[in-house]
Symmetry: C2
Subunit: 260 residues, 2 copies
Amino acid sequence: MHITIIGSGNVATHMAAALKNAGHRIIQVYSRDLQHAAMLAYHVGAEAIDDLEAIVPNTDLFIVSVKDDAIVDMVKALAKHQKLIVHTSGSTNLNDLLPFTHKAGVLYPLQTFSKSKEVDFFTVPLCIEGADEAITADLKELAATISNNVYAVNSANRKILHLAAVFACNFPNYLYTVAQQLLASHRMDFNMLKPLILETAQKVQHQAPASVQTGPAVRNDQETMNAHLQMLNNQPQLQEIYTLLSQGIIKNNNGGHGDK
Amino acid sequence: MHITIIGSGNVATHMAAALKNAGHRIIQVYSRDLQHAAMLAYHVGAEAIDDLEAIVPNTDLFIVSVKDDAIVDMVKALAKHQKLIVHTSGSTNLNDLLPFTHKAGVLYPLQTFSKSKEVDFFTVPLCIEGADEAITADLKELAATISNNVYAVNSANRKILHLAAVFACNFPNYLYTVAQQLLASHRMDFNMLKPLILETAQKVQHQAPASVQTGPAVRNDQETMNAHLQMLNNQPQLQEIYTLLSQGIIKNNNGGHGDK
């Protein structure tokens, strides 16, 4: 396929690279910032542009990977080309695009991307949605060229997925940061915690997370929890987080059991 | 070494197996529950006992891996054998043992263990502490036979580590559970989130977690955060968790920057 990439952020960068590797041709990369466009365009052999008027019409697909609140305006501007337009957002409804074009769809990668870290895109779950069945089928076919995990997901469920991803990725990463800061404040090395972090994520690849919950809360070990709260005495925000998450674990555990 | 294991929980089980694999001889396994003792004893070729009076004296080391509030009583009972006694707890001070024996130490594995999941013990960080330098040296030597990550850590720092481990392991695992439940309540498969969970943990093996923070909070994307809170309308406890953790991310981010 001939593809035009709108945006040059982390998702645009990783998806464009995967598409190029799969044999598609990236025609142009648009960004408001020409330097950003140029960086990505260079990697995927495309032309960099910072002016929507410079878009060439010989493309099959626009992939709009910009901030959520800029998606609709971008679709408005691109609709005149009469080509398929997809966005890559977890939380933007497909319906928001339909007033401007019926050739619309979604290609949402359920992964966390950083520019500095390579990702094997074939492992990335790709959630697709098309404005009609033909578009859905086309997107399924395209998605299958870059990922082994393609799911048809409607807009309502995609929003749930996006919310779940915040709990499964963004919040754990913040808690890693808290742990790292606790260690740093006592001159200990974050390396000590890395095997634990990895094992915790690896465990739930094959077992339900509730069934492998460990720690003082699931044992309802009040003495240890109180001692921990004491240690966080000068960090009331962390105390609140500790209390709330421990309560959640205790409440969950009253319905089941785990390795304590 | 000839070793006696006191306890039959997850830590006792994994550590006993690692010690046996390293060529040490596990003499006896004690548990109040003889069946539990027997299961572990069978795997490591030891005798199972449920009576402290049945302990044989020809051992070099007692490893006490019982609930925190039972450690001191156990050490009291074992001290008469005049052998080295170590506990495996993150939050129990070495000083608590010294009134009963000076041959005391700590062998704290900084990892999450489940009976149903194998762990490569050589990757497990082992934190050691001895009541004197000779004991510390002996424990370091012993620890090096089963782990490639041996750290000398005093009791105060071990408590910090244990607290940090709650943030880095127990709480993220609970958040995985929340994500899984959100998906389940909309008939979606937890498998969709597994690559994201793994990648999030893998990222911080090589980069500081704050530098790879993603999601709506680090972008200060109020619209998405409000939409998420709306979706959690009937789960006030999850709303509270969402708000607190997002505030933490926003606050952290005001000091630095990341991949948004």
